[in-house]
C-alpha cells in the first residue's frame, strides 16, 4: 500500500522518464534508449496507481490490461510500415475515447477521485471534466475519420457541402454554452449532450479535409489527445497526467506547425479544408497538356544514372503506395557499386505523416546518414547529374516559386529542376494533390518514366544488372 504522498513521488519519476523519452529522439543513436525510458515511466505510473489506497479490487484492472495489451501487441507486431499513418490515427482515437470514459467514471463516482459526492461536484472539477470530455470526444471521432480516409475506407478527397462552416461554428458555440451550463448545474443529461455534440463536431471538422492534408490532421489530433489527458489530469490532480499531457500537446502542435510551414499554409487554411478542389480550373490544364513530353524507358534511366556522378532520389507518397522502397534501395545499391554517389532528399510534407518517408527508407535498410532534409540538400541539386523523383509531385513544382497565382505559391520546394536531368517516375500525367499542373514535366531536361514506381525500379535494376555483365 502506498500513501498518496509516496504515489506523488512515483508520478514525478514517471513524468521525468517521459521527458527523457522525447529527449532521446534527438538522435537515432539514443532513440531506442528513449523508448525504454518511456516504457519504464509507464510501468511506474501504472504500478504506483494500482498500489495506491484507492484501488480495492484488481480484477477488472487485470482483465483490461490483458485484453487491451494483447490486442495492442498483436496489431503493432503485424502492421505494415506503409500503414503507419492510419495506425497512429487509430491509436489517437483510443486515447480520446479513453479520456471520455475516464471523465464519465469520475462524473458517476466522484468520491473515488476525491472530487466530492455524486451530484455535488465542485464547479472547478466540472469545468476540467467537461473540457477533458469535449476534447477527448472530438479527438475520438476526428481520428476515426482520419483513419477511414488514410485506410481508403472513405474517399480521400475533401467532402465539402454547403453551409458547412456556419454549421461547425454553430456547433462550436453550442459546445461552449453547454460546457458553461454543465459547470453550473452538473446534470447527467448535460454531460451526455456534451459528449454527443463533441462527437458530432469531431466528425464534421475532419470530414472536409483532404487525404494529403492528413499529416497536419494526424499531428493536430496527436496534440488534442495530449490536451485531453492534461484536462483529465487537472480533474484528478495528477501531476504525471498534466506533465505528459502538456508534452504530448506541445509535440503535436509543433509537428502541425512544421507541416503547415512545409506547405506555406496556415493551420486555419488546412482545417477549413477543401484544398485542391477548385484550383485546377484556374491553371488551364488543357492548354499545357498539348506540349510535348519526353518519355523514357527503364533502360534509358539506367544508362543515365549509371553514367552520372551523383544521383539524388526524391521519394513521395507514390513510393509508399507502390511499396517501392525495397526495389528503390536495390537500385541505389547497384548504382553505388558503379561508383555513383546516391542521396535521398525528403520534403517536410512528403507522405501521409511527419517523417513517413524516413521510416519507409529505414525499413528498406537505407542508412539514415544518406537521407537529407530539404534545407540540408536543396543547394546540392545544382551540382547533381540526376534527380530521381519517385511518387512525389507538388513538392517539386517550380510554380511554387514562379507563379503567384498558383495554389501552392510560396511553398518551399525541392529544386530538382536545377539538376542536369530530372527523371520523373509517375503512373500518368495527372496533377498532384493540389490540382496544379507541374511544368517540370514539359522541360527539356526532364524525362518521364511512366510506370508503377515499384515496377519501374525493378526494371531499372534489371537493366543495370544486364549492362554490368
Amino acid at each position: 500500500m502506498f500513501t498518496q504522498e509516496l504515489a506523488a513521488y512515483g508520478y514525478l519519476i514517471a513524468a521525468i522518464c517521459f521527458i527523457m523519452a522525447l529527449r532521446g529522439l534527438s538522435s537515432p543513436t539514443t532513440s531506442r534508449q528513449g523508448n525504454l525510458f518511456g516504457i519504464v515511466g509507464m510501468v511506474i505510473a501504472i504500478g504506483v496507481t494500482v498500489l495506491s489506497p484507492g484501488v480495492l479490487s484488481p480484477w477488472l484492472i487485470m482483465a483490461g490490461l490483458v485484453i487491451g495489451g494483447a490486442i495492442g501487441t498483436f496489431v503493432a507486431l503485424r502492421i505494415q510500415m506503409t500503414a503507419l499513418p492510419q495506425l497512429v490515427a487509430a491509436f489517437h482515437s483510443l486515447v480520446g475515447l479513453a479520456a471520455v470514459f475516464v471523465a464519465a467514471a469520475a462524473f458517476i463516482s466522484p468520491e473515488a477521485f476525491g472530487l466530492g459526492v455524486p451530484g455535488k461536484i465542485k464547479v472547478q472539477s466540472l469545468i476540467e471534466m467537461g473540457l477533458g470530455t469535449a476534447i477527448g470526444a472530438i479527438t475520438f471521432t476526428g481520428s476515426v475519420v482520419a483513419f477511414a480516409k488514410l485506410q481508403g475506407l472513405v474517399s480521400g478527397s475533401p467532402l465539402v457541402f454547403k453551409g458547412q462552416h456556419p454549421l461547425n461554428a454553430l456547433l462550436g458555440i453550442a459546445l461552449v454554452v453547454l460546457l458553461v451550463w454543465f459547470a453550473m448545474r452538473g446534470h447527467t443529461s448535460t454531460f451526455v449532450l456534451l459528449v454527443v455534440l463533441s462527437l458530432a463536431l469531431g466528425f464534421l471538422l475532419i470530414l472536409p479535409i483532404g487525404g494529403a492534408d492528413m499529416p497536419v490532421v494526424v499531428s493536430m489530433l496527436n496534440s488534442y489527445s495530449g490536451w485531453a489527458a492534461a484536462g483529465i489530469g487537472f480533474t484528478l490532480g495528477n501531476t504525471a497526467l498534466i506533465v505528459t499531457g502538456a508534452l504530448v500537446g506541445s509535440s503535436g502542435a509543433i509537428l502541425s506547425y512544421i507541416m503547415c510551414k512545409g506547405m506555406n499554409r496556415s493551420i486555419f487554411n488546412v482545417i477549413l479544408g477543401g484544398f485542391g478542389t477548385d484550383s485546377a480550373a484556374a491553371g488551364g490544364p488543357a492548354a499545357k497538356n498539348d506540349k510535348p513530353v519526353k518519355a523514357g524507358s527503364a533502360e534509358d534511366a539506367a544508362f543515365l544514372m549509371k553514367n552520372a556522378q551523383s544521383v539524388i532520389i526524391v521519394p513521395g507518397y507514390g513510393m509508399a503506395v507502390a511499396q517501392a522502397q525495397h526495389a528503390l534501395r536495390e537500385m541505389a545499391d547497384l548504382l553505388k557499386k558503379e561508383g555513383v554517389q546516391v542521396r535521398y532528399a525528403i520534403h517536410p510534407v512528403a507522405g501521409r505523416m511527419p517523417g513517413h518517408m524516413n521510416v519507409l527508407l529505414a525499413e528498406a535498410n537505407v542508412p539514415y546518414d544518406e537521407v537529407f532534409e530539404l534545407d540540408d540538400i536543396n543547394r546540392d541539386f545544382a551540382s547533381t547529374d540526376v534527380a530521381f523523383v519517385i511518387g512525389a509531385n507538388d513538392v517539386t513544382n517550380p510554380a511554387a516559386k514562379t507563379d503567384p497565382k498558383s495554389a501552392i505559391y510560396g511553398m518551399p520546394i525541392l529544386d530538382v529542376e536545377k539538376a542536369q536531368t530530372v527523371l520523373f517516375v509517375k503512373r500518368g500525367m495527372a496533377s498532384g494533390y493540389a490540382g496544379v499542373d507541374n511544368e517540370l514535366f514539359f522541360r527539356d531536361n526532364t524525362m518521364m518514366l511512366f510506370a508503377d514506381a515499384k515496377v519501374m525500379c525493378e526494371n531499372i535494376v534489371k537493366a543495370l544488372e544486364g549492362s554490368a555483365h
Partner: protein
C-alpha cells in the same frame, strides 16, 4: 476437541479482521488528516494554481525538447507521444479498481482496455520503427 480448536480459530480470525478494519480506518484518518494539511485544499488535491504552474512549465519543456527531435524521427515521435499520452490509464485504474460492479467500474474497465491497447501497441510500434534506423555500414 477439533471443533473447539476450530471455534477458537474462527474467533481469532474475526478478531484479527476487526483489528485490521480498525487499522484501516486509522490509516484512512491519517491520510485524511494529511490531505487536510494547510498545503492542500480539503479534497486532497494540490491547489489549482500549483497544477497550472506545473502545466505551464511542462509546456515549455515540451516545446524545447520537441524542437530538438530530428525530423527523420518525427514518425516515431508521434508513435511514442501517443503511447505516452495513454498515461490517462491512471484515471481509468482508479475507476476500475473500485469495489463492486457499477457503471463507474465498467467505464473504468473499458478505459483501461483502450489505454492498454495504446500503451502496448504504441511502444512496440515505436520500437519496431527505431530498430530500423541504422547507420551506414563502415567501409572496409
Amino acid at each position: 476437541m477439533d471443533d473447539k480448536i476450530a471455534g477458537e480459530a474462527s474467533k481469532l480470525a474475526t478478531q484479527a479482521q476487526d483489528v485490521a478494519s480498525q487499522l484501516k480506518a486509522l490509516a484512512q484518518q491519517i491520510t485524511d488528516a494529511a490531505a487536510a494539511s494547510p498545503v492542500a485544499v480539503p479534497d486532497g488535491h494540490m491547489p489549482f494554481v500549483a497544477l497550472l504552474t506545473i502545466f505551464a512549465l511542462s509546456c515549455f519543456v515540451g516545446y524545447y525538447v520537441v524542437w530538438r527531435v530530428t525530423p527523420a524521427l518525427h514518425s516515431p515521435l508521434m508513435a511514442v507521444t501517443n503511447a505516452v499520452s495513454s498515461v490517462i490509464i491512471v484515471g481509468a485504474l482508479l475507476a476500475a479498481g473500485l469495489k463492486g460492479l457499477g457503471a463507474a467500474q465498467l467505464f473504468g474497465f473499458i478505459a483501461v482496455a483502450l489505454a492498454a491497447v495504446n500503451i502496448f501497441g504504441g511502444f512496440i510500434v515505436t520500437h519496431r520503427m527505431l530498430s530500423m534506423f541504422k547507420k551506414k555500414p563502415v567501409k572496409k
